[in-house]
Amino acid sequence: MQDDSIIKVKNVNFHYGDFKALTDINMDFEKSRVTALIGPSGCGKSTLLRLLNRMNDLIDGTRVEGEVLFEDKNIYDSNVDPVEIRRRIGMVFQKPNPFPKSIFNNIIYGPRLLGVTGKGDLRDLAEQSLRQAVLWDEVKDILGQSAMMLSGGQQQRLCIARALAMKPDVLLMDEPTSALDPISTAKIEELIEGLKKHYTIIIVTHNMQQAARISDYTGFFYLGKLIEYNLTEKLFTTPDVKQTEDYITGRFG
């Protein structure tokens, strides 16, 4: 992989208290590409994802060794403000988690924190983000209603729109479709397809077909280690490592 990478993970070990969840991870994420992280439950995919925008800071007793370079600056340097990082690296969670506020207020939550206050600006931003998330047509008449009234799939697209409203450089998605029906899932996959022109997307998924369909690169994790990291096409057709092959063909012990 040439040096188009926006995030570089270098020799990272990660501990929850005494438990070592990630061992010696080296991984570069290329700009404007979709990278999928796959692997069995508990192998550390979410941990790695949350490491990239310092969400793990919120958990007591965690420890990071190594470096995570975002645009060649280590985000774990003591002079880096995690708030700044999270504004540029957005995140979508496994379970849709809109705030118990109106749809409109959900979208403008982040921009408001950044100091965008003009009514017109906020409205434009909301429309733009909702269009990007392919939700605009469904909610344009009910922007004032509680986001809790939306269906699960709509809520998840709202959460994506909310993250996009921050105009992040990178979008982290942790199993964004695992709680959704096939139709909503297809919509979100389409959406990711459209977003990758402008955003770097890193997505955790348990759905092999999904990883194969939407990603350019795929990393396979097992027990906290990165076993294989390759072009998606290569990894799913002629993987270099036997363990990967066993996993993707479902012959895993």
Binding site: M55, L58, D60, N97, Y109, G110, M148
Partner: protein, 301 residues
Amino acid sequence: MYLSSVMSRQLKEIVIKNIFFLFALVSIFILGLIIVFLFREGVPIFKVVSVKDFIFGNEWYPTYDPPDFGIWPLIVGSIIVTLFASLIAVPLGILSAIYISEIAPPLMKEILKPVIELLAGLPSVVLGFFGMVVIAPFLQETFDLPTGLNIVNVSILLAIMAVPTISSISEDALYSVPREFKEASYALGATKFETIVKVIVPAALSGISTAVMLGMARAIGETMVVLMVAGGAAAIPESIFDSVRPMPASIAAEMGEAPFRSDHYHALFAIGVVLFFMTLFFNLIADYISTKFKEVGTATL
């Protein structure tokens, strides 16, 4: 065989259900009994004085001849000390709840929580005593007053009593704000302070409002403290350093000397009725807020 086991299971369900119903009925029955008693002893006063003159009358001279049964100064006394106490207790209670549930390091939490709970367990007579021998002389000297037993003193003590109620119920409300909301906020680049102010507190608002109402109900019904440190003047106060005679203090102070079933006796019960309605009102508001403004829970799938 199978049928009979289903039958006995159903029977068991019915028996259990009825036992619970019975217990619920007993407490309702007792409450009803108290209310009936309160009204039976209180209502006869209205043969002597009209409801309007009783509630809005400015003179409370129950032992004069002829007596005056106007409890307006007592009502005003109760409302004023409750308001001032709330002014102190509400911010203190809510802020301490926020501090304990969201900000305090674990060790601090371990210390603070039991301390506040201990405050709730403090007998009110001990607090009253503290007001009499510590706060009263202090107020009297620093502000050069005729007496330190006044509105300020009572309000401080009532606030001390209301803080644990407000704090612990608010804390529960804050704890029950789903983790997902906080994570969503942080992931959007919010600071801890922004997350608390814009997400956590609004999501817990109904619980916090309930806490405030219950804290106020606690203050308005408190007897021992107002009896000991309010000063006992049955007049409409003109300054916050005046003495007052809140309703519970009047009842407690005079019940012993009022002849059984005299007008004075009935008047005191009628004060009890008024007080009952006031606390009921606070509780109803608390109840209304907690059901009406409950924010719809976490994301539904």
